[in-house]
């Protein structure tokens, strides 16, 4: 065995020498020359990151290798990245993923340094998601929740003058919009892919249901309760109304990115995040003046539905060789200047309680109105296994919407899958 390893290492050394791609960054305890930072697509505007990276580079003399990652397949990518001996130095993790990575010991414990990161103003929901056994394994980055983003001009033309205040009114507005644009066969009154599971969560919570329940430390899926089933039924009703030529039932909002579709101009509304509107505006700049947003309406008139509090944390991989530089980077990002820029971009900042900047635009206002009603997926390291690879919630939606399974069957199968994944 030993001999083989020696041979392998020797040959590998040769290969490295030949191909000339030895590790260029970091070497043991030597001085850090470059750190690698991974943020997610749509998290922080380029104006923010450009300014941040520039300030960091000039203050510390350390180069920043900044890479933007896509959400699709991020779980696998993070796994392999964290397993490697030269991981990135700063990573962004979805709030639902953080506990699982922390639990496996792959993230650096930042409890002692929390003060540097403005811990007094951390956003509660995010703080919970990165805390495991009383220790903090990250820094809150930002939170955001979905609102209904709509085209003011089209709704106006269809005779919808005030934003819908209940689910029934909303479906009514969708139908009016559809009727007003009947001449365009490709028009989507509401762009709703069949697997928009974060939106499904809103509906399930609005009906009083939940994804899973905990009993004596054991989680079981709860999608087969009457309340959760009512959420599925509501989804179907909205999906059926959404367009004449509906979005396929077996795709989610990321493939293709719904903002791209919204940017074509053939869409009246979408359930989305502020940065998605930003993306659509980039594709079609005149949308900027013709869009607004309202909170996802509840079935009870006059109130808004609970929303999934999406968000991200920043973390340092345990095997990073540039921990000190990475901490400096996080400290800078946690400062008020950059947190304000985040709020301006339409997100609830993670390390600042000042959200004044958020309400400066319509989408931010809608978001701020519904975020107190924010909820999260079960806070446990085991949740990540549900989302990894094949998500039973998405499968249940597709099976139910296409008629491949009855509602009872689809929700039962999904519940069982969740119970199994969280066991």
């Amino acid at each position: 065995m030993k001999g083989w390893r020696g041979l392998a290492v020797g040959a590998a050394a040769l290969a490295v020498a030949v191909s000339g791609c030895g590790t260029s960054t970091s070497g043991g305890g030597t001085e850090t020359k470059e750190i690698t930072v991974w943020l997610m697509d749509g998290s922080a505007a380029p104006t923010l990151t450009d300014a941040l990276n520039k300030e960091f580079e000039s203050a510390n003399g350390i180069k920043v290798k900044y890479e933007v990652q896509k959400w699709t397949g991020i779980q696998e990518k993070l796994t392999t990245a964290l397993a490697s001996s030269t991981p990135p130095d700063v990573i962004e993790l979805g709030n639902t993923q953080t506990a699982s990575f922390a639990d496996q010991g792959t993230l650096a414990d930042l409890t002692a340094d929390a003060g540097q990161f403005n811990s007094g103003e951390w956003l509660g929901g995010l703080k919970d998601s990165l805390t495991l056994n009383g220790k903090q394994y990250g820094v809150p980055f930002y939170a955001a929740n979905r609102t209904v983003i709509y085209r003011t001009d089209l709704l106006q033309a269809a005779g919808v003058t005030t934003p819908p205040a209940s689910r029934a009114e909303w479906i009514d507005a969708i139908n009016k919009l559809k009727a007003a644009n009947a001449s365009n066969p490709d028009f989507q009154a509401l762009y709703l892919p069949g697997q928009s599971w974060y939106f499904l969560l809103s509906l399930i919570w609005d009906e009083g249901g939940d994804i899973a329940k905990q009993d004596a430390g054991k989680w079981t899926g709860a999608l087969d309760t009457p309340q959760a089933k009512a959420g599925f039924e509501a989804y179907k009703a909205i999906y059926e109304a959404s367009a004449t030529k509906k979005v396929p039932a077996d795709i989610d909002e990321a493939k293709p990115q719904q903002m791209e579709v919204f940017g074509t101009g053939n869409v009246g509304m979408m359930v989305g995040l502020p940065w998605e509107l930003g993306g659509a505006v980039k594709a079609k700049p005149d949308l900027a003046d013709k869009t607004s947003a309202f909170p996802i309406p509840s079935k009870k008139a006059g109130s808004s539905a609970p929303v999934f509090l999406g968000g991200s944390n920043l973390a340092i991989p345990a095997s990073s060789k540039n921990t000190d530089a990475a901490k400096k980077y996080l400290a800078l990002l946690s400062s008020k200047k950059y947190q304000d820029m985040l709020a301006e971009g339409g997100a609830v900042p993670g390390t600042s309680k000042d959200t004044a900047k958020l309400a400066t635009n319509a989408v931010g206002k809608a978001l701020a109105a519904s975020s107190p009603n924010g909820k999260v997926t079960p806070v446990t390291p085991k949740w990540a296994a549900v989302e990894a690879g094949q998500n039973p919630l998405k499968d249940a939606l597709t099976a139910y919407l296409t008629g491949a399974k009855t509602l009872d069957q689809a929700t039962k199968d999904a519940s069982d899958a969740i119970t199994k994944a969280m066991a």
Binding site: A8, V9, A12, A15, V16, S19, C21, T23, D41, E67, K70, T72, G73, E76, K77, T80, A81, A83, S84, S85, T86, P185, D186, K245, A254, K255, P256, Q257, E260, V261, G263, T264
Partner: protein, 272 residues
């Protein structure tokens, strides 16, 4: 005669079946952006534009992943061919202890299901700190293609009469000279055929490229294209243009190789 024309009709229908996806890829790539996603029936394009190619070409990551694919594939194929020839010559031209077991080892090695070695390969590249370097992919593709190259080339070397080499050596050539002057030129067609297969294997590979490489500037083209929805959204025209550009190197390789093949075969025939 009736039978023959029935056969010809079947042959043409099959030709259509095989050609259609290529046709559809190219025509979609040539359609203006607004007219790809449409409910109109558009089997035949009426307006032609090359903007989709510009879009694909200038998409972030396209050029770098094309370059990475070329580097990885060509390096691995050249390495596999060079080392394959030396092994083939040894297996075919020499008698030595252990030859038989080595030949069988080659035969078995080329059947190794590489996909089943994903986990150990991943762990090994991680331990070697090669993870995230293109060299890890080069090593994997080299290993995948080497046994096949060595085995196939052995067959081609066997086909070249050893007397030719011996004659050259009698004429005063050294062993290396004799190999270089006599065997190597005759091996041309074999090298060509072998390298096409190796090229296609490496050019197509997806699983290892997905697992062993994580940063975008080191992605290969298959991985880049697999995420086309994020790059192109519903812009199928752009995605098809990228697919065309991805196909071109493989097709060019096929075509170049065929010319050489013809030349090699005729040269062999002339010399007898």
């Amino acid at each position: 005669m009736l039978k023959k024309s029935a056969a010809n009709i079947a042959g043409l229908a099959l030709a259509l079946f095989f050609l259609f996806p290529t046709y559809w890829m190219i025509t979609t790539a040539l359609k203006p952006r607004g007219s790809t996603i449409t409910s109109d029936y558009d089997l035949i394009p009426f307006s032609v534009t090359f903007t989709n190619f510009v879009t694909a070409w200038t998409k972030p990551g396209f050029l770098s992943s094309l370059g990475n694919s070329l580097i990885v594939t060509l390096t691995a194929v050249v390495a596999a061919i060079v080392i394959g020839i030396t092994a083939a010559v040894a297996m075919s031209r020499f008698a030595f202890r252990g030859r038989k077991s080595f030949v069988l080892l080659m035969l078995v090695a080329q059947m190794a299901p590489f996909e089943a070695l994903l986990i150990p390969m991943f762990l090994m590249m991680r331990d070697l700190q090669l993870y995230e370097h293109l060299s890890s992919l080069i090593l994997v593709y080299f290993a995948v293609t080497l046994p096949f190259c060595a085995w196939t080339l052995r067959g081609f070397v066997n086909g070249i009469p050893v007397e030719l080499e011996e004659a050259a050596m009698v004429d005063g050539c050294g062993r290396w000279k004799a190999f270089q002057k006599v065997t190597l030129p005759l091996l041309g067609p074999g090298l060509v055929a072998t390298s096409v297969f190796a090229f296609i294997t490496a050019w197509n590979e997806f699983l290892f490229a997905k697992v062993l490489i994580r940063s975008q500037d080191k992605e290969t083209l298959p991985v880049w294209l697999s995420g086309f929805e994020t790059a192109f959204g519903t812009d199928w025209g752009g995605a098809m243009a990228a697919s065309v550009l991805f196909t071109v190197p493989a097709l060019v390789f096929f075509l170049i190789v065929q010319r050489k093949m013809v030349a090699g075969v005729t040269a062999g025939a002339v010399k007898g």
